[in-house]
């Protein structure tokens, strides 16, 4: 509309305004990711300017992104899922016993774990929907139940190792790919899962209804959204993604009882960096994936700078607060 009213002389300023408007609408996660990645590239050209190095970086980033996508859907609904980290611990510990060092058990193990994810998600969703327990408390309880159950099943310590074919998802690369040299399985899995999630979340009614419920539960209820059904489906989605992310983490991480500890907070932090609002109503799959990549890049950057692990925690905390403060203050100014 503005284009037709503006004279030919003003078209260049119009273009400028459009251009800057477009620039301003870019979510802050992308410039931040780029900045951190460029700094990483300067500090360690071999690690972050070659395809080989980038693929090595993507391997541990991908599972975190999968967890973050799952968490995002619950956050967009206005809830929390604190059981994500416990699910990762469950996957690793239970696999260590269930596989019984036999590669033939990998497929049944994966199916069993996904089934368990569906079950946990169902229970979370049903408890929140029908017992009306806030999801923060429901999933906090579920975190304890899942972790306790995993530790009880294995007797307090991992039993045996994980078979190589089970670890392949998180650990191995597709070798000899033209241009990319090699691609980690984990990244391929991430792309598949992110595409599915993108389609569900941004292209179906279900996805729009999640955002509607997160934005205004009462209004969407009155306009005929089946809130309870949506919520149960969302929690199932999150738990299944937590299991899949856990399987990928099992490939790279060590087999120990604390492997999933704090993962839920990392996933939430990745979502928040990716522009998700706690309290619901906002979320974008691709931004969240880059939120996870940014978080991993921050960790790598701090390692690259030679900071010991404790400082990494502290700086990570500062950056998380900074990003959210920036987003909050900039939206306030727009109003």
């Amino acid at each position: 509309m503005t284009a037709s009213t503006v004279s030919a002389q003003g078209s260049s300023t119009n273009f400028n305004r459009k251009f800057w408007g477009w620039i301003r609408r870019i979510p802050p996660v992308y410039p931040m990711f780029l900045l951190i990645f460029i700094i990483l590239g300067f500090l360690n050209p071999r690690g972050y300017q070659t395809m080989n190095g980038i693929m090595t970086y993507l391997r541990p980033s991908s599972p975190l992104a999968v967890l973050a996508i799952g968490e995002m859907v619950v956050l967009a609904l206005g809830g929390f899922d604190l059981s994500v980290g416990a699910m990762v611990t469950f996957v690793v510990l239970v696999s260590s016993k269930f596989l019984a060092n036999d590669p033939a058990n990998a497929l049944p193990n994966i199916l069993m774990l996904i089934g368990f994810g569906v079950l946990v998600g169902l229970i979370n969703g049903l408890v929140v929907s029908f017992l009306k327990v806030p999801s923060f408390i429901t999933t906090l309880g579920m975190m304890m139940v899942v972790r306790g159950a995993a530790l009880y099943y294995v007797g307090g310590a991992p039993q045996g190792y994980l078979t190589d074919n089970f670890r392949a998802f998180g650990r191995n690369y597709i070798q000899n790919v033209p241009f990319f040299t090699r691609i980690p399985y984990a990244f391929v899995i991430l792309i598949i899962l992110a595409t599915i999630a993108y389609f569900i979340f941004h292209r179906t009614n279900y996805g729009r209804q999640i955002l509607a419920v997160g934005d205004n539960m009462r209004a969407s209820q009155l306009s005929g959204v089946r809130v309870k059904l949506i919520r149960v489906m969302t929690f199932v989605f999150c738990s299944v993604f937590a299991v899949l992310g856990g399987i990928m983490i099992a490939g790279t991480g060590g087999v120990n009882v604390t492997i999933g500890e704090g993962m839920e907070m990392q996933a939430i932090a990745a979502c928040v960096i990716g522009g998700v609002l706690l309290g619901g109503g906002k979320g974008n799959v691709i931004n969240v994936v880059f939120g996870a990549f940014t978080l991993q890049a921050i960790v790598n950057l701090l390692n690259q700078l030679g900071l010991p692990k404790p400082y990494t925690d502290a700086v990570q905390g500062l950056i998380i607060i900074g990003v959210v403060a920036y987003a909050a203050l900039s939206t306030m100014k727009k109003r």
Binding site: L131, V133, D313, A314, G317
Partner: protein
């Protein structure tokens, strides 16, 4: 005659203003149930041994003190996930400053309270002035504190002098000092919430911040105040723990899950996560439920991992016992 009647009336009024929350029925149920189980399956000490009763409360002191602060913050529609690390930094710093010398105790106490106040101020300022969601803000400050302690201390550092152990082990008559302090903190929390302007404003801010602001409440100050009080309770918990352990270590807070447990306990006690509702008496009941459970599990010799499972189930059931009747959808 008239004076006794008046005092009786006053008693009734106080009783009514205390407004016994429904969680106490759940508390009594848990106590009777675990007592009966204990009677049949173990040696029945829960009902017969008064020391066990005291022990239940002593077990609850550390969580109870910080849960009172968490309740204040939750009523203000905020949340504090940094308390676990505030507890850790208190434990480590106080034993580091004391170094086993009695003359260092006042300095250490002043020092850790200062640290607590600063942490609370920072939390409050980030939330109110930078408009960061409290969950993220306190998650972040928690990470920062964690980084600072882990960078400076690896395990037990320093020690507390004999005199300071009075906090953890001392007794006045038959009653442990720690229990008296817990109840003092609860009563102060109740007084702040029910009898002061600050408390009334806090409920207002938690219920509807915009309405509170338009009716002249300085919402930012109230919320910052609540965060400072919460951090101070975390400091008290940390001092109690270090006096029990005789030396501080950086893992005290996170290992006890004081962040999530204090929130769980407050919510079990009827405090709403969305703010504006709750009181410290409910929180006290929630803490006692935790104490009874852990004592009962010990008595019955439950597998430690199953203990976690049961605890998770009971948190959800306890909250469900009153939310199930609410007509509002949960989130």
């Amino acid at each position: 005659m008239t004076t006794s009647l008046a005092s009786e009336n006053r008693l009734k009024r106080i009783f009514r203003s205390a407004n016994i929350p429904p969680v106490y029925y759940f508390l009594i149920f848990v106590f009777l149930f675990s007592g009966i189980l204990d009677q049949f399956l173990a040696d029945g000490q829960i009902f017969s041994n008064p020391l066990i009763m005291l022990n239940i409360i002593v077990r609850s002191v550390a969580l109870g003190i910080v849960a009172v602060g968490q309740t204040l913050v939750l009523i203000g529609a905020s949340i504090d996930l940094s308390v676990a690390f505030t507890i850790s930094i208190t434990a480590v710093m106080s034993s580091y400053i004391m170094q086993g010398k009695t003359e260092n105790v006042p300095v250490a106490i002043a020092g850790v309270f200062l640290i607590g106040i600063v942490i609370g101020l920072i939390n409050g300022l980030i939330i109110t002035k930078l408009r960061v969601n409290p969950f993220i803000a306190t998650l972040g400050t928690g990470l920062i504190i964690k980084g600072i302690i882990n960078a400076s201390f690896s395990n037990y550092t320093g020690s507390v002098p004999q005199a300071f152990e009075y906090f953890g082990y001392g007794k006045i008559g038959p009653i442990p000092v720690s229990i008296i302090i817990l109840f003092l903190v609860v009563i102060i929390g109740w007084f702040i919430l029910a009898r002061t302007k600050f408390g009334a404003h806090l409920y207002g801010v938690g219920g509807n911040s915009e309405v509170a602001r338009l009716s002249g409440v300085r919402t930012d100050r109230v919320l910052i105040g609540a965060h400072v009080l919460c951090s101070v309770t975390a400091v008290l918990s940390g001092m109690f723990l270090v006096s029990l352990m005789r030396s501080g270590a950086p893992w005290v807070g996170p290992n006890g899950f004081y962040d999530l447990n204090s929130i769980a306990v407050a919510v079990i006690g009827g405090t709403s996560l969305s703010g504006g509702k709750g009181d410290v008496w409910g929180t006290l009941a929630g803490v006692l439920i935790f104490g009874i459970l852990s004592t009962a599990f010990n008595q019955l010799g439950v597998n430690p991992y199953l203990k976690t499972v049961f605890q998770g189930l009971i948190i959800v059931l306890a909250v469900a016992s009153y939310t199930i009747r609410s007509k509002k959808e949960a989130a």
